[in-house]
C-alpha cells in the first residue's frame, strides 16, 4: 500500500507557528502517520501534554481514520463544538490530510509534521521511497527499479562515480540504485537494456500543478 512518510517538525518550529494561538485543537490520523508513529493516538496525546505544559488551552483532540479521505468531513462535524472553540488547528497528519482539513474549516492550520515522501514499509519500521510521480515512467528498461526515485541524482544512464560497495555516496544506509538495477538486469539476462544510451529525460510529464480531467481525455 502507498504510504505517506512523515517526520515531526522540530518543537521550536511548532512553537513559533503557534506563538499567536492560545486555544488549539489537535488532529491526528489513523493510517500512515499511525504506522510511522508521527501522528497516531499516542503522539497526539503527547503533543497535547507538551502544549498544555506550555500554557496552551487544548480544546480537544481527534484521530480521524483516514485524514485524506472525504469522510473526514463527517468526523470533523462530530467535534464541531470543540473545533469552534479553537483559534488554530494543529494537524499531525501528512500534507494531504492537512490540506483536506484546511479546505473544510475556516481556521488557520499548523502542520506538526513534514511530509518526506510517498513510499512503502520495506521492513518492520523501515520505509522506502518508491515513486516520485515524475509522469514519464522509464522502469520498463531498468528491471522495474526506478532510478529517478532511487538514485540520489535521478541518473538514467548508470551510476555516478561516488557509489561504493553498492551504496550511495551520501548515505551508506542507502543502496545504489544502479547497482541494484545492474544486478536485476544481469539476473534477467537483459544488460543490453542498461547499455542503451538514454536521451535527456522528459520533465514535461504533467506541468505543476498537476491536474487531470477525465472528460477531456
Amino acid at each position: 500500500m502507498i504510504r505517506s512518510i512523515t517526520q515531526p517538525k522540530a518543537e521550536k518550529e511548532i512553537d513559533l507557528l503557534l506563538s499567536g494561538s492560545g486555544r488549539i485543537f489537535i488532529i491526528g490520523c489513523g493510517t500512515c502517520v499511525t504506522l510511522t508513529r508521527t501522528g497516531g493516538e499516542p503522539e497526539v496525546r503527547a503533543m497535547q501534554e507538551r502544549l498544555s505544559g506550555k500554557g496552551k488551552l487544548i480544546t480537544g483532540h481527534l484521530v480521524v481514520p483516514v485524514a485524506c479521505d472525504n469522510l473526514t468531513t463527517d468526523a470533523l462535524a462530530e467535534y464541531g463544538h470543540q473545533i469552534d472553540q479553537a483559534d488554530t488547528l494543529l494537524i499531525m497528519t501528512c500534507a494531504f490530510g492537512v490540506q483536506t482539513i484546511a479546505r473544510q474549516l475556516k481556521k488557520m492550520v499548523v502542520p506538526a509534521l513534514d511530509t518526506l515522501f510517498m513510499g512503502k514499509e520495506t521492513a518492520a519500521g523501515e520505509f522506502t521511497e518508491i515513486c516520485t510521480q515524475c509522469g514519464t515512467c522509464i522502469i520498463g528498461e531498468t528491471g522495474g527499479i526506478c532510478p529517478v526515485t532511487s538514485c540520489h541524482k535521478g541518473l538514467v544512464n548508470g551510476p555516478c562515480g561516488g557509489t561504493d560497495s553498492g551504496k550511495c555516496e551520501i548515505d551508506k544506509r542507502k543502496d545504489c540504485a544502479w547497482t541494484m538495477i545492474y544486478n536485476r538486469l544481469m539476473d534477467l539476462g537483459r544488460l543490453d537494456s542498461m547499455r542503451r544510451l538514454q536521451p535527456p529525460r522528459n520533465h514535461l510529464g504533467e506541468p505543476t500543478p498537476g491536474k487531470m480531467i477525465l472528460s477531456e481525455k
Partner: protein, 295 residues
C-alpha cells in the same frame, strides 16, 4: 578547430594535465600564480567546477584566466547546478571565448558541500552532456533548433577504475565514448596492477586515457579521503608508507609516491598520459613531474 590539448592527445606523446581550483572569492592571485608556474610544463590545466559542491569562483571564469595567461584550459562542467539551457549557453560562451576543451561530469551531491539546502539540478547526466557538446558542434541545440555560429570542443569524461562493483561503471564508460568522449580522465588510481587490467579492457576503445594520480599529503589525509571522497580508495600499504615518513618529510614522501607511480605508468606505457591532482598544492606539480623523471 583542433585545440592544443587535442593536438597533444593525437601526437602520441605522454600527456600531462593538472588542476587549478578557482578561489572562494574574487582574489585570483594564487590561482594565477599556479597557472603561471604550470602552463608551460603541462599540456592542459583542468579548472574545477565548485569541487565537492563548495561554491567558488566559476570554472568558466577560471578557464578564461588560464587562457588569458597563455595556458591551455580544460573546462570542467558538472550537471549539478545548471539545467540543459544553462549548460548549452555556457558551452556557447566557452567556445566563443576560445575555451575548446571540456570535461563533462555528473557532479558530486549537493549534500557534500557548503550549500546543503540548495536544489540539485541533474537535468542531464555526464554522458548526456557529452552528447550535448556533439550536437552543438553539428550547429543545432539539443531541441534541434539551428544555431547561428557554432562551437568546437575536445570533450572528455571520467571513469572510476577502482570502483566496486566495477561493471556498472564500465557500462557508463562505454556510453560516454558512444556519446562522443575523446578522452577519459580516471579517478585516482593507486593499485597499478589493477589499473593495467583496466587498461587491457579500456585499450580496445578509440579513446585516450589519462590515469588520475593524487598527491598524498599525509596519512590522515589519505584516511580522510577514503572515508569522505567519493570514488577514492587509498590502499593501506601507501597509508603506512606515508605514516613512516620522518617528521617534516611527509610531503616529500607524498611527492615521491606520486612520482614513482607516474614513472611506472609512463615507462610501462600503461595509458596515454596522467592527470595529476595535487589538491590545494598545485604548486608541487613540477616537483611531482621531476620525481617522475618527466622534467
Amino acid at each position: 578547430m583542433v585545440s592544443a590539448f587535442q593536438k597533444a592527445l593525437k601526437s602520441g606523446k605522454f600527456v600531462i594535465t593538472c588542476e587549478a581550483a578557482p578561489p572562494k572569492g574574487t582574489n585570483l592571485k594564487r590561482m594565477a600564480h599556479d597557472i603561471e608556474l604550470l602552463k608551460d610544463k603541462v599540456d592542459a590545466i583542468n579548472v574545477t567546477d565548485h569541487q565537492s559542491s563548495v561554491m567558488r569562483f566559476p570554472s568558466l571564469g577560471g578557464a578564461m584566466l588560464v587562457k588569458e595567461l597563455g595556458g591551455e584550459p580544460i573546462l570542467q562542467m558538472t550537471c549539478r547546478d545548471r539545467n540543459r539551457l544553462a549548460l548549452q549557453a555556457d558551452l556557447l560562451f566557452a567556445s566563443y571565448m576560445g575555451i575548446h576543451n571540456v570535461l563533462c561530469l555528473t557532479g558530486d551531491s549537493i549534500m557534500l558541500g557548503d550549500h546543503k539546502e540548495a536544489k540539485a539540478v541533474f537535468d542531464l547526466d555526464s554522458s548526456q552532456l557529452l552528447g550535448v557538446v556533439r550536437k552543438l558542434e553539428e550547429g543545432k541545440d539539443i531541441s534541434g533548433n539551428d544555431l547561428d555560429g557554432g562551437v568546437s570542443f575536445c570533450a572528455g569524461g571520467i571513469v572510476t577504475p577502482e570502483a566496486d562493483p566495477l561493471e556498472p561503471q564500465l557500462i557508463k564508460f562505454e556510453k560516454k565514448i558512444e556519446a562522443g568522449a575523446e578522452f577519459i580522465q580516471t579517478q585516482a588510481v593507486f593499485d597499478l596492477d589493477r589499473f593495467k587490467k583496466f587498461m587491457e579492457y579500456a585499450g580496445q576503445f578509440n579513446v585516450k586515457i589519462l590515469a588520475g594520480v593524487i598527491l598524498l599529503t599525509s596519512a590522515p589525509m589519505a584516511r580522510f579521503m577514503n572515508n569522505n571522497i567519493a570514488g577514492v580508495f587509498v590502499p593501506q600499504d601507501l597509508i603506512d608508507e606515508m605514516a613512516s615518513a620522518p617528521k617534516g618529510q611527509v610531503l616529500t614522501k607524498g611527492i615521491e609516491i606520486a612520482g614513482r607511480m607516474i614513472k611506472r605508468i609512463h615507462e610501462e606505457k600503461m595509458c596515454d598520459g596522467v592527470h595529476i591532482m595535487a589538491i590545494n598544492k598545485e604548486e608541487l606539480v613540477p616537483d611531482i613531474m621531476s620525481a617522475a623523471g618527466l622534467i
